[in-house]
Symmetry: none
């Protein structure tokens, strides 16, 4: 409970001001306790960051797994994955930005754990594309590794600009990107 409140306050502050620029003091002030309390729940500031990042990437991996085992075609899977990432912005934008931006502050040990998960996410995605190619649903000239980087770049970038209260909805954006990918812009 208290730990969860701390995580939440930290995500907000880390996103707003950055990990290094946020002091433990500010975190505990936000929820009205003292610094000692923080160290009762976390061994270090860095461990808190690891916690946040791990929670986020595991959330994503879980969602991804659900989609990948559904019984739908690959184009549909592509759409569902893109939509998943984009719709996640509504609730996880801050976590996501903290994830991408602050990862570097982790120790090597923690970093390796996180990177392994991140690579897992990417390789699941890539595997789906490879199967889609094999199944003849996607063009066989494609390089699935590069394609994966491209698609993830496109979707991840939307954490920085997409406004889910704007004129275009998450569904529309996901649809737009999927169409563009599938059919091209010509």
């Amino acid at each position: 409970m208290m730990k969860e409140k701390m995580r939440a306050a930290s995500i907000y502050l880390f996103d707003e001001k950055g990990y290094s620029e946020t002091s433990i003091q500010e975190i505990v002030d936000e929820i009205g306790v003292t610094k000692g309390t923080f160290y009762y729940y976390f061994n270090s500031k860095q461990e808190l960051l690891k916690d946040i990042n791990l929670t986020y990437i595991q959330f994503l991996l879980g969602k991804q797994e659900e989609i990948l085992k559904e019984n739908i075609n690959y184009t549909e899977k592509l759409y569902r994955l893109i939509y998943m990432v984009i719709s996640t912005i509504k609730t996880q934008r801050q976590s996501a930005r903290v994830f991408f931006r602050e990862m570097r502050h982790l120790s090597d040990e923690h970093l390796n754990i996180i990177k392994r998960k991140r690579n897992e996410f990417r390789s699941h995605f890539q595997k789906m594309l490879e199967e889609g190619i094999e199944a003849g649903e996607f063009n066989s000239n494609l390089r699935p590794d590069i394609l994966t980087f491209g698609i993830l770049g496109m979707t991840n970038w939307s954490y920085y600009w997409f406004n889910h209260e704007g004129e275009i909805s998450e569904e529309e954006l996901a649809k737009f990107y999927t169409d563009m990918l599938v059919n091209g812009i010509k």
Copy 2:
């Protein structure tokens, strides 16, 4: 000269360790002078960051302008712009990463200057797409604003993973992305 050396050392360190994690001491140690010297050339650490970011974005804007005024069709322009960003990785990768990651440490005043330039870059790109649509070269169903975010996301992301000494060249990557965009993956 000295100022240039400082900028170079800082770009390297800011990319490697992050802006906040890099101390002035480390910067000056890197080039064998003392902290006083740093403050002879820069008013503050933040001003140095502004300098770095401004130099980078203006470099990009210059390159972009050259391409946009060439007498070639829009598909070709698209390719050239993508290639430009990707080939820039070889010399500007660190600057680019510093640009995207550390921008937030600028003061409001400096941030506005930088953001204006960044938006300029994006809106030039978007305008090119709009003209391409109008000319019938690109599909008229597209939303040029979202498309711009998508393409820039895809290309900018490659600053984080693309290795110009790897098995695939910049030309190939640019070609791959352009093909994918133009023709789709189906």
Copy 3:
């Protein structure tokens, strides 16, 4: 307790060497703690100065008030006020000198607070003189405002030269100044 020790050490050092010339390091060295401790108790060096000045001027105001409400004639009040300021030298000389000399290092906000109190002290003094004139005890040709400045200048100056271990006592000095003021030197 710790805070009080810091205030005391600071008053001593500020008087001896000046506010700007005294470093936080010197203050904490004086009482055997570390710099961090200082900032646990004070937000800034300047806040400490404000604390010192406020304590001093409020001490004076308190003493002044006591005297002014006593049931004695105005000449006696004049003597008592002069004596109060001079006898205060024994315990408050350093605070007083810090007050007069270092006030300028306060921020505008703090300076206003302090100046208001200082003016209060002066205007109470002046009011007493005015009443003494009205009561016919002092010469009606006098300008109470200027007279106030003159008397306070005379007494405050003694913070710089008067030695309470010297051949002349505080009582004598106060008596001397009061006589001089009341009867003139002719």
Copy 4:
């Protein structure tokens, strides 16, 4: 010429911001030269302060000497001396405040030089009072040393509050103080 400009700029800045708070850079900026130039004319910042203080106290001593050798009675001399100090405010206020406030920043060697002159000024004043007493012009019960401190305190204090553009002129103020001293306030 250049040296004089530096002195003038420094007096202004030292009075406005304080000796320690004024950097050599600010002084040279004020007159449009560079730091090297400063060190061509002065050996150190402190020497500049000594220069300023010496010039001021010697100016005062000169004026005092003129008055003391005039052929007038002691009451008149008293008035003339008080008037001299007060009228000096118009042109020398800043120098005077720098003198009283910043003296402490001098090295022992310089400080001794200055203090000797200051004591000279005081003892000339005191001697005049003693002669006035001997001549029967002032009350023989007075202690001339203390009286001197009192009068100088009163007049010197006016550097901090007297405004020569205010409703009361320097002549009036000097007259007021002299009257008060001579005849008392009863």
